[in-house]
């Protein structure tokens, strides 16, 4: 016999967006380091920043944390807008 049953899974809200173009070079660039406050993420980003600065002349880094949250601090849309005026690339660590 054939049993017909309904699919239990919900359709999702589809949000449309696209990735940003990549950088042509890293020399002289301002690169952000985003830490969500999870343990170990700061050390990873510090190391990444050291390696970038040692390899690419004139590259500067800046640590960012989210403006809202508890043990995890999140970047809001407003944070993203502000940051986009300060750096041209971001390395992130959620430590997961």
């Amino acid at each position: 016999m054939t049993l017909h049953v309904l699919n239990p899974v919900a359709r999702k809200v589809e949000e449309q967006g696209s990735s940003a173009p990549r950088l042509s070079k890293l020399e002289g660039k301002h690169i952000g380091l985003y830490w969500n406050f999870k343990a170990g993420g700061d050390a990873a980003l510090r190391r990444a920043g050291e390696l970038l600065q040692s390899r690419y002349a004139g590259l500067q880094t800046k640590l960012y944390v989210g403006s809202i949250g508890g043990s995890n601090h999140f970047l809001t849309k407003d944070d993203a807008k502000r940051i986009s005026g300060e750096c041209v690339g971001m390395i992130g660590s959620t430590a997961d």
């Binding site: 049993l3 919900a10 999702k12 990735s19 993420g41 990873a44 949250g69 849309k77 390395i91 997961d96």
Partner: protein, 449 residues
Amino acid sequence: MAELEKVGVPTVGFVAQSFEKDWQASARVFGVKALPWVTVPRPFVGLDAEDIYPLVDAAFDALVKRLTEPLAQEVAEEDRARPAEVIAVEGEDRYAALEHMNRIFMDQGWGDGFPLWAPTRERVDAMLRGTKRAPSQTVAVLAPGKGIATVEKIAVNAVMAGCRPEHLPVLLAAVEAIGDPRFMMRNVAMSTGAHAPLMIVNGPIVDKLGINTGRCALGPGAPSAVNTVLGRAIRLIYMNLGHAYPGHMDLDTLGSPTKYSMCLGENMDASPWEPFHVEKGFERGASVVTMFTTYALSEVEDNYGTTPPAVLNTTSLSACNAGVKSVGYWLCGWRADPDARVQVKDKHLLIVCPVHAAVYKKHQWSKQDVRDYLYQHARMPFEQLIAKTEAAAFRKSHPQLQWLWGSPQTLIPILETPDCFEIMVAGGMGGRSTYSYGAGEPVSRLIEQ
């Protein structure tokens, strides 16, 4: 990171092995299909810097490539082709077909591991007769997957759980509650912590449906059969409507049996206080469901205390468990939903057993008296709580409390304010209350009559 990509900032993230699927799924939810990452063998948590640096060094070249080279490699895995809305399942007979259905559903990840009831058109239509709402109505969009929870999809999962039509209004209200940004569903459904939803029901519907408020209210067994299926439906809804599938967007480290089902009603026969829902602002005659996320439950066994301070001293000792995330969480800030820009405090729930409720009643202690006592006595040394908290988050969230570094033995409350201790009454006769370490705050909704 997705928000940065959308405003034109190229990004790359460190992602630990076993978290890549979650990263990709989250990226799609947040609207950026190709969100670049580099894989590291394990999370950075629990490692010293000297152990983290080699992991970063090994991933560095790939990291640079993700920032500078076109994203050809970063096309996220394609969604599996979505099965049809009506699935035909073959079997030699009805029982074989039901078994076959269960195998299919478990292969798809749609079940909780226990046998499922078949959501046939007939059974779902019968379930839908439990509400006046239209099947196509959207009740909520559920995090973490932004699933559109329609009345019909909730009904399908209710059938699978073994619910009856008269249970559906409770579930509809519960989904409204977990869809409220203040419930922090994205945070609690995706975490590496064992966050389990607790459903609390108040009002006339408790007796009408036979929801257990007394002995074994949290199960298992026949007295809690209604409780069990209601709680189970919520788990299926988390998965199939919120898309919080284990290992996919639910990254719980170990899991917990509490995640299968947790539902109870309040024992108003034993309570000396106003009902939980009345305290939340609802009419006494209203039927209300409250959803509350819990980390864990602890027994508060005290068969000897005959005064409120005696019982609450035992309670305070149960509460002071630094191993639970939400104990002292307030030091690093508040749970937040960055999209809704909402922040909430962590609250805990004391489920007072009738024996302890009688102690409070005899001595005329109000709920506020109980809260105030717990706030004053459920305290731990700052140095113990900050040891498991990110110091930078504490500095950012509470600049006015930095003097505590100089007085690390200072006893500080485990919760931020007295109102963070929620209180209800439930259970049978025995000197055993239950302390529930919450994550976030409870959210309540009216149940349609």
